[in-house]
Structure formats: structure tokens, C-alpha cells
Symmetry: D2
Subunit: 346 residues, 4 copies
């Protein structure tokens, strides 16, 4: 049994980590911290945990963490993870960081998109980008993982086979739809029920920080031949889920079967990536509560316009689920441990 | 007071027509037909009308309609409108048809996309496509209007200034999101609450019949320079509303202000088209229950990639509202009569 | 044309007042105030008003209001209305107050339930409780109206014929369900989309401040024979609407037809109260966006257990709609002016 | 590993059984039948199972079931279970029946409330009503379990400690709110998204068939001193969940602490029943996807009016979850096997 801590555990990602770990056979939570809720019981904040997880939140103290944890999940806001990563690594604690702090190898880019000085650029340089299916090898031997953003996960799993094989020609349009839990537990008018329910709207058009995250990865998969992305996220009246509808100009025309084969080659052994039959499209409810990615595509006869659709649960494969998947690998456990279950439908 | 009939009044579009006409100062309903509900009271089907609209549904009989109506709305299924249009026109009754039966001048195209023989191609040829802001002149003198589809309305209002001025280069991607009322009152698993609520999914990828409808219109606005469209609709967990996010490759780079001016030139006198300030994006809730179109756009600095976003209420500007707007014009009334009200928010 | 001001216009009730008045033939808005948004355009806060209501919010200044307004709606928080009522009345301005400040004739009761000192108890004593259908006469000659709470409106319209005729025996259970807009525009975790969507829960059990408001009114209708109420509100995952399911022990058994007749006697001339046919129950969507009250009831054969169900739109008949209804009466207009329209369905 | 069949597996309860059993360490599905979908793959009907549960639906044949199953869940419509129960029992197959067919010991009552002739009244007489926490002993040795209805489960767990101790005086009002999945997968206008979303309404007032089911059980717990129930269910715009707000007249006044102690005595060892702290009320989202029951109560100081609130997931503790709990007991497994997980929140 490996002992893990959740640092910054009061948000929805923290809650989701607790939920997963509760049913995980090889991990146990040994420490929970949340600055604003020190000494409060977890189940008071989240009554869904009543009788399952009656821990108290503690204050963050690195030496206590060192004593009690083999590894930690950092579920802190952007800018906070980088402040604690170094000391935890120095204690020999493995880290899966769910913030954006280590998602760009080049700290200058981080500083540009997130508007803050990076305090440990050398760690950013060596952190492994934790899109598990693509970076599995590197993750196994990493000491710190930058867990991908929710939108990048949904997008990149869908685009990887194309980028790696140099099939993309020009700009990919990613029209993304996210449930409101993606905005977290922090209050804002944009997530106030009467404003957002029963209504859909775009936001951060051209300026969402996940766009450069996606682009850097596409560049790396394709040695630079791909990477130009137009990304528009939409706030959608649902709790969980991300659907990406991606419009991909191909270098040459492909038939549906060719595309399907390509994806099968890449993903047929993957436990969490499901290629849907032709004509069945991803619905976010079908991946609700799971670590699964549902993918399908459609191609015009003889055309070079490909549409790739992918759905994930933003708090699972787009967050806590993938974090546990990565943690499993880092700790030498089976990758799928604690994560193999179908979606909650309806 | 003009007397109008609603033929096929039992669906959501019929209901919406009744709701509008109830508050309309110059129109009154003089006939309602609905095959399945003959002799039943309207308010029994729709208790929201209790005390306002206690008519009975009648059987369709052209001679009775001729006696009692100056004009009619046909809210019939595709394939049914064309069966009655001729006899009603012969009686001198003006028609706004909300089905697709007269949206293609070339009946062969209709037959191709809707899979049925057209029974009066000559009427299709002369019917006016009722996108009011664009076809106002022709509508005023028409005897039959083909009211546009909901998706085409939202899309075309957003693209018209660009198409007319020959600014579009290549394929426009239209990623469209519709509320469930767009699928009508007919039962199906896809619109069963537990299946569709709290979840988003694409459908009819590449094959939705509104795609050719949009394309034909774009061709006509641009004399053929525009018209290539990739259209993907999404079923969205909300009642009403269509949001179109449109990715438009421009022939030459434009600045935001240039685009804004262009739209102002076209639309500043329009009563139902609202250009939002930069940075404010359309939200379907903001047009709920109205005939308004909200439009905004975003352009990359110096780029030639333009994003146009438009929102309508699918049952109003995307259906019954625009139908009344067209009827007003046909009957010599003020275009905005009965339609000038802001949205129901929240 | 009467000129009215909306004081504290930035909340959902203020928005709803603007929406109604925009279509009202005899009222026009001549002043809008909102402390936090002075000089800001209304449509910036509420894009649904774009092109309809492009006023700026002003600061509250009584002399300016006196110059520009014949009457005002106070849409201020509890405790704020009483601070301005006196000076406005002294200017001869008529007031409809949507807060709770004047709902209790006895200021001591207000102080007990709202936990603040009342600054003008003499005005509270003379203010008329604006449940229009019941207090019509008094409203016509009033200078200040205490507009009822949303729950009391839905409850009292349903219970009035029983209370007035002394038919209630003992404690009435009111199980009430409200949409989230009832909690207003103020942010809280309870109205944060991911917390409240797709879930129902009770709140303020036994301690909601609308319970004594309901009780005082029942006492007054029945000369004290009725008035014992158990009231439990529930936060329901919808935007608008209140449904009250009321369990009424009758003094003697009544048949359905007797109950129906009783309600017809009281309400058959009412423009906004609709008695539904037996077996049709109120659905909040059927009154969406309207000033209507839908009522139905069910009685066990020969039993003395009566169930009364009533539905209103909390922002309309439960707020702004009834406020305009009262204002119409105070200003000598037709009571239903600007308010006669069926619901937005679906 | 015990082999179980799911007979009538195509509905939401069948799906939920598959979801649970997939993660269950001691049960495996060995047979799935669904008349309408014979030879079809389960994941085609429910893409959420893709890659997890790629079985085909089979035709129902008792001899094949006898060969392949140790026990079965009957997830058939009312009236169908009783047709197959006898032959399966004769094969020695244990049964958990999720229909109402065996919920009344007296077949005459079944016939009265369900309007059909009972074909095996002797089995009805001996079947055990599977409210696990109350009937644990009898369940362990039963060969056929009548799994309780969703509303009765939520209600009875909340009322049992009171009924057993003879504390209830007179009629209990149960105001119940259910998510739409409670109506199953069958299409109807009442569950059509545009009709039901964003709206709440009562149904089956005084005539719901779960009312006599609740009453019979209360009578049996209390030896007849309790059992008079007024039951009003409401269709609520959410997927899953039942909330019961129960208004209980007590024989004598009780303090909160006394009530709390009483419930603790009954439930403190229960794994699925969670008593919430005072002031925390059940929210259906907090039990989403789980077999848990959340209970709280509120009592007026010194009053004899008690309010009990309980929440369950209608498809879990109100259906498939409790069915597995019962199956575990019947098969000699640990009662909680495969069911111990906290809710999916948000």
C-alpha cells in the first residue's frame, strides 16, 4: 500500500482524487491539506464522502508530508505548485502536479501565458508532460509529472495519431465544450446557476491558455509539421464532460477505414481509449465519472477534411483520473489500478 | 386585423406562433388545425395557454381556411406543406411555410436531400427564401415564403456581410449547438430526458440537411465565390437556443474594427440584429424567447482567421418569430409588429 | 404615460421590471439606480437588453427621483427600502417595495424575523400587503405597497378561499420548490452551478422567513381560525418557478366539485389565476415568464385531506409581475396592463 | 465467483446492474436477456459500456439460464416477472425481482393496485420484501426477494425507527421528488426533454402505486399503529435521485437529540445509511451513483411535528444497488461487496 497526500484538497479535483483513491487497492490517502479548511472534516465540505472519508484537512508542512507520504498530488492553483515542488522533490517525494506550473518545458512560455514569474524553471524543464498514453515510458521513471489540462487531454488524444504520422496540413480548429465543473469550485457570475444553466456560450476566444499547451505538444509529436491551432472553448450547461469537435485539414485524402486503422494501431491496446463504431459519436454522459476517452471521426468521401470528436470527463481523464493513472506508473503499479469502471449512465 | 390560420398547430412551432400572435396587435388566429387533435382544446395540449387561447383544433379543410383566413402559417412536417400549398395559393391565401418544402428553388435538390418527390416544383421555384433581413424586398411582394431552417438562420445572418462582399476564402466551418426543442415534440430516444440531459454530443456529422441549405444561400449572396461549408450540429442540454461558432478563412487579413464596421453597415438599422461589444460573446439565454440575433466576432491580430459567433432562439428567429416577421411584411404591416421584446433572462 | 423609477435595478427583479415595462403601454422607465454600477450601461450587465434598454444606472438621489418619477419600484435588499421610503413618500411618490421591509404591520415582528431595527414602523403599519387579488381595494388607494414574497404569493393564492371560509383545521404543510433565480444574483456556494444542478435539497427547514409572512396573512383572512403552517422550501435545479404542494386538513370532508366551485367563486373573474382541469397539475414551466398562477387540487373520496398545488414564476407573479400589477392599480391603470401573455413553453 | 443473469437487461436498471457487477469481486454476469435486442451487443445500446461489457443480449430460455446462472436479477416490467419466477425457482435459481410482482404478500392487493391477475400468489406470499437493513435475516435464507420500489426505499428507511417504536400519530405526509430516470427508458411525452427540463410538477396525486406499498410495510413494522400515508411524487428536472420530505406527527414531543439517538441505535452499524449532522440536509447529488441513504431531520423545539428527509439514488439504493445488496446476502457474500463507494460529486 502506497501512502499518498493530496495537497490543496478542497477543490473538485481534490474531491475526485479522494473518491478514486477510496476504491483503489494499492493507494491510501495519508495526508490532506487545504489552507482555508484546516482542522475541518472533509465530509463537512463534501457530504458525499460522509462515512467514507472522515479525515480532517491539515495545514501544509513539508516535513509532515515527508514523514507520511510516498508521493503527492498537487491540486493547488496555478502559481502555488511551483512554490512547494522543490522541497518535496528534495525529500524524495514523487509528485503529480495538476496545475499548469510544469506543463511548459520553457519557463518563459509559462510566464508569458500565465503572467507570473516561474520560481523553478529547471524543474519545469525536466518535468514530464503526463498524457499517459503518449508519454508512458517517461512517466514510469519520472519524479514529477505535469498533469495535462482537461482540454489538451481531450484534444491531444484525438490528434496524436495524425500529428505523429505527419498527416495534418495547416490549422486545426478545435471547438471545445466543457461542463461547468471545469471552472472549479470558486464562485463567479459565470458559474452562477441562473446565468449559466440552460444556455451555452463561448469564452476566451483565441486567448485560452490551453491553446499554447496544445500547440506545443502537437509540435513535439510531429517534429514541427503540425501545431497551428484555433481553439474556442464553450461553457455548456452540464456538470462534467468535455467534448472536442476537431476540424482537421489532411495533407492527403483518407478514407474512413484508413483513419480507423491508424487509430487502432495506436490505441487498440489502450485500456482507456475507446474507438466508437462508425456513426456513433461521443456523448459526454457516456464517459461520466470515468477515465475513458471516447473517440470517433467522420470523413467526407474522398475528402481531405477530417472531423475528430473526443469526449472525456474533465475531472477524471481530464484531471484526477489521469493523475492517478500517472501516479500508478510512477509508483510501479498497474497503470489501470483503481480506474477500470464504465460510466455512470444516465 | 388580419386573420391568420396555423396549419399543423400542435407542435412547438405552432405553439410559439400562437404565443406571439396572442400579443400581436394586427394579427388574430382564426383557424388552427392539427390532424391528431381534432376537436381537442389547445390548452389541453399546452396548459401554458390556459385562459389565453382556448381554441379547438380543427380538421384541415381548404375551403374553410379560405373563408376564415387572410393568410396561413404552415407548421407541417416536411413533405406535407407541398401537398396543400397549391390549393391555398389558388384561393389567394398568402403562405409562410415553416417546413423545408420550398427552401430549394430547384426541386431536384429538395428531392435529393429530403428523399421525396416534390409535387409542385414550380411553386418551389418561385417561393421566396424568408431570411427577412436579406430578402426584405422580395418578401413584401411574395405570395409564399419558405421560412429558413433554424441553423441556416443563425449561420447566414452571421456570414452574409462577408459573403456579399466576397471576403470568404475557402471552407467555412460551422460548429452549431442546438437546444433540444429544435428536435420538436416527437418522441425519440435522443430527446428522452435521461439520455440527453447533462450531456452534449454531435449528430448528423457531414449529413445534416441544413448544410446544403446554407451552402445554396451563400452561393447566391456571393455569386458563387463562397459556399463551401462544413457543418456539425450538436445536441445541447438546454431547451431553446442555437449558437453557431463559425470559423471563416478570410481572403485578406482584417482588423476587428474593419469587421465591426462592415457588420454595422449591413445591420445598424436592423431591429432584431444586435452586434455585441468586443469581448462580449453571444449566450443563448440572452436571446431566449425573442426574435433577436446576437452576433460577435473575434479576429487574431493581423490574421485572416475570423471567428463569427451568433445566437438565436431556434423557435423564434429560427422559426415562429421570423415567420411572423415575414408575415408582417407580406401583409403590409410593420415588420417588427408583435416581435419587439427583450429576452427572458435568467 | 406614467414615469417610474426602479431603485436597486441591478438584480434579477430589477431586470424583470425593465423587461415588463419595456412592453407596457402606459409606463415608462425614467430612472434606474444601482449603487455598484453607477454610469454603467444596463445592457452591459444584461446583454439580453441590448438594443432595447440602453440606459445608464444612476446614483440614488431622492430629489432627482422626485423630478423624474411619478412612482418607484424599490428592488433593494431587505433593510435598505425602509431607509428611503419616507423621503420618497414625502415627495408624493408612490412606492411598490419588493423587499420584506413593509410586509409586517407590526415592526416588532419584522425585527424578530429579519434581525434588524425597523426605522419607520409607522409606515410599516400603514403599508398595504400587495397580494393583488385579495387586497385590490386597499391597493388602489395606497401610497406604499409591500409586495409579497415569492413563496407567500404562491401559497396564499392557493389557500385564501379555504382560509376565508374557515375550512382549515389545524396545521397546513407547505412543501415548496423554488428555482435558483429565487436566490438572486448574489454569489454563494449554494447557487454555484456544479453544486446545485441536477440535484434537489431542502433548506431553512422550520426557519424560513416566509413562514411567518404566510402565517400572518392566513390569520388575517380567517380571523384567526387558520394560521399554523409548517413550511419547507427546496432548492430545485431550474431557473424560474415555484411549486407549492400544500397538504390541508379540512374541518369537514369536501368533494372535488365543492372545492372547485369554491375556487371558481373566488377566482373566476381573475385574469391571472387559472384553475386547471381535474387531473392536470401545475408545472412551473407552464407559467414561465408570466404573471399567472396555476392551481389545481385533489381530494380523497369523502376525505378531509385536501391537496392544493400552485405554481408561479418567482420573478413574475412572485416578484416583478405582481409589483407591476400593483403599480397599475395604484396609478389608476388597468390592472392587467402589460402583463397579459401566456407562458414561454417549452 | 457466482454467476448471475440479468433478465430484461435493456432498461436503466439492467444497465446499472451491469455497471455494479463489472466492479464486483464475487459476481460475474453469465447471461443477459432482452427480448427486443436479441443478438445485439450491449455496448451498442449503451456506449458507456464500450470496452467493458461487450456481451450480446440473448433470448430468455429457462434451461439455458439454469445451466449458466446461480442466481438471477429480474429487471422485467411489472407482470412479466411472475410469469418466469416459478420455473426459475424450480431450477433452484435464486431470484431478486426488481418489479412489483412480489411486493405484496397478498396477491389480491397486487391485483387491485396493478390491475392484473397474479399467476403465482403462493410465491408472492412467501417472497421476502428486500429492504435490506430491515429484513436482513429473512433475506439471507430467502429464495426470492421482492426488491422494494424506489420511493418506498427512501421513505421506509426514514420512517422505520419511528414506526417500530410506535411513535407516529396519524397520517404521515410524504412529499417525494424523483429524477426522470425513475420513469425508465420508455418514451413518453412526460419524459421528453423539452417538456420536463427546467420545470417541476406533481403527478399521480393520491394514486401512485408506491403509496400502498409504503403503507403495508409501515403497518408491519408498527403492528398496525402506523400506516396512514399521503404520498405525492414530483417529477424533478434531474437525472437521478429521490428526495423524500416527510412530515410526521409524533405521539409525544421529542427533542432533536432524542430523535438522533433513536436513529443511531437503529442505523449506527449500517454501512449504507448515513445520518447527517444537524443542519445539513440531504441533497440528491450527494448520493449520486451510490447505494447510500442520507438522512436528516428537524424538529420544532418542544414540538411534536417531526420532519424527516431522506435521499437515495433511485437506480442504486432505490433499485439495482439494493438488489445487489440483497443478492450478496442470499449468496452468502458480504452484504456490502461491490457497493462501497462514495457519490459522484459534482
Amino acid at each position: 500500500m502506497k501512502r499518498v497526500g493530496v495537497i490543496g484538497a478542497s477543490g473538485y479535483t481534490g474531491l475526485e482524487l479522494m473518491r478514486i483513491i477510496f476504491s483503489h487497492q494499492k493507494l491510501e490517502v495519508s495526508m490532506l491539506t487545504a489552507r482555508k479548511y484546516v482542522t475541518e472534516r472533509v465530509s463537512k465540505l463534501y457530504p458525499s464522502l460522509t462515512g467514507f472519508f472522515d479525515f480532517d484537512f491539515k495545514e501544509y508542512k513539508s516535513e509532515l508530508i515527508a514523514e507520511s507520504c510516498d508521493a503527492v498530488f498537487l491540486a493547488l492553483p496555478h502559481g502555488e505548485s511551483m512554490k512547494v515542488a522543490k522541497e518535496l522533490l528534495d525529500y524524495g517525494i514523487k509528485i503529480v502536479d495538476l496545475s499548469a506550473d510544469f506543463r511548459f518545458h520553457d519557463a518563459n512560455e509559462y510566464e508569458k501565458f500565465y503572467g507570473m514569474k516561474h520560481v523553478c524553471p529547471e524543474i519545469a524543464e525536466s518535468a514530464v508532460y503526463g498524457l499517459t498514453e503518449i508519454m508512458r515510458r517517461e512517466i514510469e521513471s519520472a519524479s514529477i509529472i505535469a498533469n495535462p489540462g482537461c482540454y489538451p487531454t481531450a484534444s491531444l488524444v484525438g490528434l496524436y495519431p495524425l500529428a505523429k504520422n505527419d498527416l495534418i496540413s495547416g490549422t486545426v480548429v478545435i471547438d471545445a465544450k466543457s461542463g461547468v465543473s471545469g471552472a472549479g469550485r470558486k464562485l463567479s457570475l459565470d458559474t452562477h446557476y441562473p446565468q449559466v444553466s440552460d444556455s451555452i456560450c463561448p469564452y476566451s476566444v483565441f486567448f485560452h491558455r490551453h491553446q499554447p499547451e496544445i500547440e506545443r505538444q502537437l509540435v513535439s509529436y510531429s517534429s514541427g509539421s503540425a501545431g497551428d491551432v484555433v481553439f474556442v472553448p464553450h461553457l455548456t450547461p452540464m456538470n462534467r464532460g468535455i467534448l472536442c469537435t476537431m476540424y482537421v485539414p489532411l495533407k492527403t485524402a483518407m478514407r474512413f477505414d484508413d483513419v480507423f486503422s491508424l487509430y487502432q494501431q495506436n490505441y487498440s491496446n489502450e485500456k482507456f481509449i475507446k474507438l466508437l463504431e462508425r456513426g456513433v459519436y461521443p456523448s459526454t454522459k457516456n464517459v461520466q465519472g470515468t477515465n475513458n476517452v471516447h473517440i470517433s471521426f467522420e470523413v467526407k468521401n474522398g475528402g481531405n477534411e477530417l472531423i475528430v470528436m473526443s469526449a472525456v470527463d474533465n475531472l477524471m481523464k481530464g484531471g484526477a483520473g489521469q493523475a492517478v493513472q500517472n501516479m500508478n506508473l510512477m509508483l510501479g503499479l498497474k497503470e489501470e489500478e483503481g480506474l477500470m469502471f464504465p460510466g455512470l449512465f444516465p
